[in-house]
Symmetry: D2
Subunit: 359 residues, 4 copies
């Protein structure tokens, strides 16, 4: 939007503006072009963080920084370069690499912020969510929705790192967050292969009669890699056989959902997994809201706002609101994605524009 035409600066106007300041007032006409642009003009910028940078720094912090009550987590937030150094990957979302050394425990707490973990490599940690120990392994997507007690412990002699996603910036900005300490140690150190939540809920199309009440967030503690991998393979096979199953040619994708509603896993965070065949080039999309990807496997290019970035396993990138983006797969290409889409959609601010077709 064009810059606002401003009144001529006169002594009377200066006095008026001084009056505004004295009474905690601020006129719209001097700032409307900034506050109400013709389309979203995010302060947040597109950015790629390299796993080859992240992991060594996480490992170094494992040696220097204790994990325990007070600091709570050895988590290192990805700070969007446009957001003034705050550990915000976008105005709404937090993304961090968390690191837990051999035999360490991160103490239990709970908060109204919604959280998940995604594991790009490694294994051996259990996260204990409301007393239910949930194994964390490569490719798993794990939930700790708002106000569930949770802690983690590493049952092995090897360290493990993963990424955390939360709605901390949104929660902080809008003053909605509560926090409570729980047990200093996790409440259950057993290491089952499958959590109780999965045993109750992970049967396709089947709902326990003991769980007929819908829940705000998904009751599933872990979405296992084997199911995701299989679902994506089936989509690509169905496409090959001539049936509609993919998002676009060569591009399979699933959304993780709350089985009690079919909707997003948590009220503020959407999570998906995307698989592009080698050579696939996605359409260019613009969407209202912020989105984050982590490459799970393979190698390719993301184009954001016209700039191309080569990306590979573990790399994390953020796409600010309304920035055009597309993906190009150099190899078979697997990416985990999360976003603030439920916030945008529940408040009816969603818009999408598909600018052109891909391959």
């Amino acid at each position: 939007m064009q810059d606002a035409m401003q009144p001529e600066e006169t002594p009377a106007l200066r006095e008026l503006y001084a009056g505004f300041r004295a009474h905690n007032l601020n006129p719209l006409w001097t700032q409307i072009g900034n506050l109400m642009p013709s389309h979203p003009r995010p302060k947040a910028v597109p950015h790629v963080w390299r796993w080859s940078d992240l992991y060594p720094l996480a490992k170094a912090s494992g040696e220097l920084v204790p994990v325990g009550r007070g600091g709570e987590r050895r988590a290192i937030g990805l700070a969007n370069p446009g957001l003034g150094g705050e550990a915000y990957i976008s105005p709404t979302l937090w993304c961090a690499i968390q690191y837990l050394g051999p035999r360490e425990t991160a103490p239990e707490h709970r908060h109204s912020q919604n959280a998940f973990r995604f594991v790009v490599e490694g294994e051996g940690v259990w996260t204990v969510v409301n007393g239910d120990p949930v194994r964390m392994s490569r490719g798993d997507f794990l939930l700790t929705p708002g106000w569930n007690f949770h802690g983690h412990h590493n049952d092995t002699d090897q360290p493990m790192a993963w990424i955390d996603g939360l709605d901390i910036p949104f929660s902080f900005q809008n003053d909605v967050g509560f926090f409570e300490f729980g047990s200093e140690r996790v409440t259950d150190y057993s290491t089952p292969n499958v959590s109780r939540s999965e045993r109750l809920w992970c049967h396709p199309g089947l709902r326990p009669l003991s769980g007929l009440q819908n829940t705000v967030s998904s009751p599933i503690g872990a979405y296992r890699w084997e199911y995701v991998d299989n679902a994506l393979n089936q989509q690509l096979l169905l496409e090959e056989e001539g049936y509609p199953a993919t998002v676009e040619q060569g591009h399979a994708a699933i959304r993780y959902v709350n089985p009690t509603t079919g909707g997003d896993v948590m009220p503020t965070i959407r999570a998906e997994f995307h698989r592009l065949r080698a050579g696939c080039e996605s359409a260019t999309r613009r969407e209202v809201g912020s989105t984050v990807f982590q490459v799970f496997e393979g190698r390719g290019v993301v184009v954001i706002g016209g700039a191309s970035h080569s990306i590979e396993k573990g790399d994390i990138f953020v796409i600010p609101s309304w920035s055009p983006w597309s993906l190009q797969a150099e190899t078979d290409f697997d990416l985990f994605r999360f976003s603030d889409a439920p916030i945008i959609e529940r408040l009816n601010f969603d818009r999408i524009k598909i600018e052109d077709g891909g391959q």
Copy 2:
């Protein structure tokens, strides 16, 4: 409700009543006790049909009655003895045994009536739903929701029988049904182990991005026995370990659901599977609406309205609205259940009364 006190019969009253009849009128005061009882007084009665009776008759009809266009299906409806010979198992529901001989085809058609099949024994038939061939095997629950073309074919040299459930009586009574013939033969004679609908949808907690629009009925063509069996086992194991997972002590149960909503598979029919440990005795329940069970495995007793019926594999029984009922398991006891609960609940007529505890 007490019988209505009636006005004294006088010539003037007789003349009035003749006037009513002449003008297609009928007074409330002569019939209110019947029309508006203090609680549901169904014409439908509790009844048990024996598999040992059903199967031989189905087999005999296989020899005498062709399957093909016109008759459409070799299906024999269970006629509630209280409903005047109509093939209605309840005022709302149809339940039939369907029989398909070796190499036979039941031609394709579609109707607004919602339908499912449940297989208590046998295998070898594929039902083709909107072109998607769906294998039918023991323990599977299969959907053909309203207005989907479907036909069946037997790919083997053995006959096969199963039960059909539909909302034919409701649809007929309320004049909502449409019907269309399709292909004389099924449109795809291939015999895949897994249908395309399952390949796209049967991944726990994962939704394809190509299927984000909610659907009135479940998109899943077949709910496989292995998943049901596993879900029920897990509930009983969790109960043993001390966690809430079952309906009541020793009684595990799942509801088949539409993964796009978490709700019932079809707008008029609810379907569930119940497993009682040997010795388990359920609470006595009264519910508004009609319900039907088929014993899948094991042996026990159902008590309906105070009368006990021994039941075993394949037996089918109906519980009319508001009749008190309970189950007693003599062995480990598996039962498939379907009902008109979505009709009752969507119209806010649902009531439940749990009369006493079980074991």
Copy 3:
């Protein structure tokens, strides 16, 4: 649908059919054409009841039939000629003329059946709904949703008649009804002009903070004629001024709604009011479900299934499911309408076909 081709009748087939009867079975192939027609083929027929017949018979019953406990109401049901003499205007709906003599009281009761009253002429009766006295006057639409205690009393020396609409046939057919007697007299004989429900709820777009919980049925006891009349006038004026406001040219209409949801007033019954300018001819519509009209004012023609019926003030007519119908207004023409549309829509059986345009 064509009649089913039937197997040749042989001794073996006769024996088979005898076996079916002996075991409470009934084959589909002999009846599918009837049970599952290609489109709804209602037993109910189109029919018009004349107010000039109804009112005198109601008046005569006022002299011969007491109103009181047992008979409960002096209500005379309109019996669809196609439904075998039952007092059902359609398979789902009950419509009756109710008559209350000077100073009479109809005792309180409650039932799960949903009920409304509509007043085509007269005044002087108050219906007391859960203790709230609600004045009944010409043009008013009054609710007694399921399980609300209600009675009526006539506060004048003149008799009064009105029509009742209920879901008695649906409730009876599907065994969902409960009934309870209340006080022999109404619990409050005061005669306020405006009920408490209206004082709390009838402020456009304003919801009391004491009523933030949504309710299954509308909390409004009376929808007053003056508001309906004004709403319809405004629609026609807006149309004249060139703005979209009517259903079709010259045809204004409102739906009575539950202010807590914006949806139908009760879970099983939809109610509307239609106004056609003199000369207006509506499009011809076919809809799944049964609908009933009463002429409130003016004169015109209804065409149902190709047959024309002249209708005037007080006349009541029923349109069975999927029958084509249209209206022609000879004068300015006001009609009250009710139907079972919420049943049809909530169970996803709704279809509509607009066959041609009107004037």
Copy 4:
């Protein structure tokens, strides 16, 4: 929450932290106490703006600042003293006094930000929303939901001022806003007493058949004072008569709602009107989310976070998230209220605590 215990600062740690900064990272453990407090600790502070300050400054700007394309509106935002000078009354909400001189026009535009106006005094301006001229008068609450074109014009020789409420801060912070210029002049200078939106929609419990599709925001352009005043009076009268109708003793309140859903008028903003009898003292409440009040009539005290503020006609105050607040009415006391509650509730962050009873 206690301050996090921090690792000892060593050269290695300093190096680690430098590595973080170099790679756009920021650890959680140094800031968790700030980012994730035990309960909301808003930067926004409680504050009262005096109408006696606001109006003269608005009037002065009327003489010095033109209204027209570019600046768009002569609106002066209330800047919460805790939010660094930004014209944000809370992290989510914008509140401004807008002033339009005699015969002036504010040009048309549209934006995805949701907006309303509330008139504490004066008349003579029409706001034209999507071509529908809407009169603005004392006590009226007027909507311009997201993406509706709107402009204003003053049809009199007197100036007029009112308050605007929008979700500008939320929209700016989360990068969801779009903006478009419309006509330089309003598209319709007629001055009807009642807008077309009211003529179509403001009939209690009646929905036009031409408006059966639910809308994201209310279709009502103006909620008139006379209806609000009457609704509140009726609540207090009902309370006097012994019926439940008020929020608490002596405290009547209505919420402005979308008649198509019964829910909030817009996806991000809730609006209510509260009336306290002289002498009434409300309970003390804490709620998640930000709320703003303007005194419409009368005099009283608001207690926020333990500090008392005398308030009278036109005064505006803000209550930050989770701050305890209560009202005391010295005279009969009328207050308009708006808040971000729909944001909070749709994202399931709502909590409320009623700390003690009032009078």
